[in-house]
Symmetry: C2
Subunit: 456 residues, 2 copies
């Protein structure tokens, strides 16, 4: 395959501040350093050697108990959410060990206050010299609500109203210092120019925030914003606010359809669609030969108990799968938001004649989009998706940490570089530079909020 | 002076994640690196060379506008709170650059949720190998309330009720994993033992939190707890919960009286009074000769506008001093909590015939307890306070950053070491080791809460 254009793709690494994929921690090459800075420093340096755009940390504010209403399977199998360090501290550790790698943390608009979040990401952006990104989630699990003194979750539509207002406030706070407000003139003296640091006096439905922020405007203007909303309102939210959309697809067709839709949505909101970067998550499984790949796959599959996979799937679907028989086909479910994905998966399972237990094992060992094979096979597929307009790059997930990132950097990245699909060195300093996104001026957020639009 | 016992004192460094003392940023030896990791890394390494117990970051959740209801003087003079990075990220940066130094951040029980705080400090304690400390504040400024969607502050008594319950919840969460719950047995497989990770199912007046935490029990059991309450309820709270009390005194007599009272309060709560460490804040001004010290003092004094000092004093008193004439003596004020300190200061000002403007300049350049002079003079005074039972050590504040810390480590620490008043190397690994505090077992917090006691 030859290159059709000179655009290059973007790579993020989806890292868990804990044991990673269920079973992945059992891999002979995995490491137990989840609680140590060295573990994260090493991953960061590996990714920077591989010229990755960014490291990305998902988050969960609870040990999930969606499967059977108990934490047991989560803990026993080290399944999703069993252990998660607070991500911004992990990123500060990574920032100190790298010079270019972008640094993304997930924070929920449902359980934090905008002053705190605006300040946290402004701090990370300064400490990293302009490499911070915020993955905005609205949260959906009752287990999280019950850790944050809420009887129940805010309903979906309301969550996005709150998120819209949350983003209005964080943007006002990031804008509360002009770019040149910090003067530090010792002779005058003038530390900061009072005329260039302004209260925001926000008074809305959810938040009352006077401001100004106590941190100067971030080097990137605003941190890079990432979103993964799947519902209609979620997609609209991403098309308005996000710089990067993180998504999961099991086929090229659905990926292309989604990317087209999102770019069109962005354009409809008056944005340059090239400034909305679509990064589907993939879990590559790479080996020097196809035979090695098959053996690796067998090894990983054997490390997973079906229940570990169903525990994770229960969380993602927000449905208790423990009530369905393990030896029957997947149940028909109406799952808001992720319905399309679940239906895709169920149809594929039925076609393959899988039981729920087998589907659980497969889910825990899933390789979204089947990026499996030797480096040239994986690079072919990445190129195919990229050139078909399915994406602007990929969010690389690791079947086990940190080894799968190291293998990807050693085997796949050089092949992408050979094809001039991926950078061989960083050209800019900030994450916006890496992503080819302009630095937003003060006030650039205005007109993005659906909540404000509806109120007009 | 010779040593009367073999006890050694403890040293903390009070560091501002911003420009520090008003005017300090104008010092020729100060640095502008407040927004860079190198600035904090260097301070951390200096303190670790000096065998300090811990680095301590105060915090403010607003740019204060108590003086004249405006941010102007705060920003213009770089006065207290004009710029403050989020402290746990700064500490994560410091943790990665050091091996022994304790790491303390301030977080308010009024504006955060206990799950978030318990998780943040558990993360810091793991990432630093057992060096985390939490300075617990209940917050008192309306400017902070107005950044966190509250019309007004919670009243003082209510704030401490909330703080009591907040600490009940964080301790339950830190205890939600047994020390040996994380097994990571790959063969079994058993990631964490479900029988040793327990929900907390807390349901109180302020918080409903199911738990468990998604981070294993901190290496120190609980992070070291620091408190600085001045009111009666604040002192009671510290005597119940705190490992370290941070306090300010202008005379040896008041320091001794306070320390005696606090140790007695701790004993009355059934605690070993030696496990409540009292660290008064001091701002040493040291020089090779007395003449150099005097010149340094003149230099620093000349860098301060009186309004910069009054801005800081207004914040500390929570009283708008802009309404009083600058050329008259200090007004008589009834200031809850800090009344004693203010009265002390006013009497001293009146005796010296100072105007409010002059007192403002002095306040900005204050040297609590007058730890001013050549290294042996300062060491004499520290020894005097220590041996008189005024304290278990000191929280060293810097007239300018980072130079004042470097001078203290170069000039004063060796003198303290020569007298065997201070360690020449770290003996343990954790902050509890440095402070001589036992590691608390699971459940060790029980019986500490005044709120629970009142409910019985």
């Amino acid at each position: 395959m030859t290159r059709k254009n000179t655009e290059q793709l973007h790579l993020g690494a989806f890292i868990v501040a804990g044991p990673g994929r269920p079973g992945g921690w059992r891999h002979p090459q995995s490491e137990d350093g989840w609680l140590t800075p060295d573990y994260y420093r090493r991953i960061a340096q590996t990714l920077e050697q591989g010229c990755f755009d960014l490291a990305f940390f998902p988050d969960i504010l609870a040990v999930p108990n969606r499967f059977g209403g108990s934490h047991e399977s989560q803990l026993r199998y080290g399944a999703l959410g069993s252990l998660r360090l607070e991500p911004t501290q992990v990123l500060a550790t990574m920032a100190a060990a790298t010079n270019h790698l972008g640094l993304a943390a997930t924070k929920s608009t449902s359980y934090y206050e905008p002053f705190d979040i605006a300040r946290g990401f402004a701090t990370l952006d300064h400490l990293s010299g302009g490499r911070a990104a915020w993955n905005i989630v609205t949260s959906f699990q009752d287990a999280e609500a019950r850790n944050f003194s809420r009887e129940q979750h805010i309903p979906r539509e309301k969550r996005y109203d709150r998120a819209d207002e949350f983003l209005e406030v964080t943007h006002k706070l990031w804008d509360s210092w002009a770019d040149d407000a910090l003067v530090a003139d010792r002779a005058e003296p003038l530390f900061a120019d009072p005329d260039k640091v302004n209260p925001i006096l926000h008074k809305g439905e959810w938040f009352t925030v006077d401001g100004p922020l106590n941190v100067p405007r971030p080097p990137q203007g605003y941190p890079v914003l990432i979103q993964a909303g799947a519902s209609d309102r979620g997609r609209d939210f991403a098309a308005r606010w996000a710089d990067v959309v993180f998504v999961t697809h099991y086929s090229l067709e659905s990926a292309v359809a989604f990317a087209r839709e999102m770019k069109a949505r962005a354009a409809a909101h008056g944005r340059d669609p090239r400034h909305l970067k679509i990064l589907p998550g993939i879990t590559p499984l790479v080996g020097e030969t196809q035979a090695i790949v098959e053996e690796k796959r067998k090894l990983l599959s054997g490390l997973i108990d079906p229940v570990a996979g169903l525990t994770t799937l229960s969380y993602h679907l927000d449905v208790d799968l423990s009530v369905y028989p393990l030896d029957e086909p997947l149940p028909h479910l109406k799952v808001p938001g992720v319905t399309g994905h679940y239906d895709e998966m169920r149809e594929a399972s039925d076609k393959a004649g899988l039981t729920l237990a087998e589907a659980g094992r497969m889910y825990a060992n899933r390789y979204e989009g089947d990026f499996i094979g030797t480096p040239d096979v994986i690079a072919d597929k990445m190129q195919e998706w990229f050139e078909a307009g399915a994406c602007d790059g990929f969010m690389v997930m690791a079947a086990w940490q940190p080894g799968a990132f190291e293998e990807f950097v050693r085997l796949v990245v050089p092949e992408l570089q050979r094809r001039k699909l991926f950078r061989t060195e960083y050209e800019g300093k900030t994450l916006r530079d890496h992503l080819g996104l302009p630095r937003p001026e003060r006030g650039a957020w205005e007109g993005k909020s659906a909540r404000l639009e509806a109120a007009e």
